[in-house]
Symmetry: C2
Subunit: 140 residues, 2 copies
Amino acid sequence: MEVTIVENQRLEVQKKIDKILCGKAEVESCCPVKDILARFGDKWSIYTILTLGKQEKLRFNELKSQISGVSQRMLTVTLRSLEEDGLVNRSVYPEIPPRVEYSLTPLGQGLLLQLLQLADWAKLNIDQILEARERYAHKS
Amino acid sequence: MEVTIVENQRLEVQKKIDKILCGKAEVESCCPVKDILARFGDKWSIYTILTLGKQEKLRFNELKSQISGVSQRMLTVTLRSLEEDGLVNRSVYPEIPPRVEYSLTPLGQGLLLQLLQLADWAKLNIDQILEARERYAHKS
DNA sequence: CCTTTGAGTTACCAAAAGTAACCTAGTTAT
DNA sequence: ATAACTAGGTTACTTTTGGTAACTCAAAGG
């Protein structure tokens, strides 16, 4: 189970990371990947995408109740930024009271698959992390 | 290239997400995966792990200069929390001036591999995201 | 004895997130 | 006919977090 990067892997990994982080200060609008990671690098975006993955469509208040702890304001802000990036669809039905349905775009579904992998890793390694926290708490 | 979750995949995905998010309000300390995602869900943690992936060991100021934009304070805070979670090793050499070397633990290297996949996805889909932002800016 | 050095702290200020009240406008209940 | 309810927000205000700059520590070198 122990994953270690051995030396012959390292060069490959280094090159990859260099490309991702654009270490060499590119000419124009340096490193868009950083910019994108910064976008869904906050917890509400991740939860929102995971929650939207459960159903095809979800209304605002359904999302709000399923994402425990999110405030109304932060949910709107998060959904707007995901919509701006083309990860989420927002369909407004002009009724009273209003009805708004949110769903993942194909792009958003692609990101969902990546996040599921990340979550799998988290689930697999959670015990190690909790142990490490225990150790850290005791040694200090 | 278009990734779409078809209906027969959805049930599987739903079950997976339910497990990850612990929808059914578990007895004690509900959903550790949420907790963990919240930890490296900030941008400095992601950059720090990616940067530490480039070399086996890096000293504090080397890290600071390679992670563009990070402040001294935020780097210490980020490194401490990664150390607490057992993702990063911190070795202090009792010299004057002090020398401190940081490196990824095997656990951290496992997370690095996940983040590389995420970054790959970002690189692959960046054009679509930038297009979506253009559209959003114009339509408003 | 004054400066430099690396790896931090501390104090202070700005920016982001959380809280709670308010808004809209048509439908139902009183 | 007016009051309350509805869903999906917005606005104003407070608290928490992040960023900036100055300070610390202890020994070596000038």
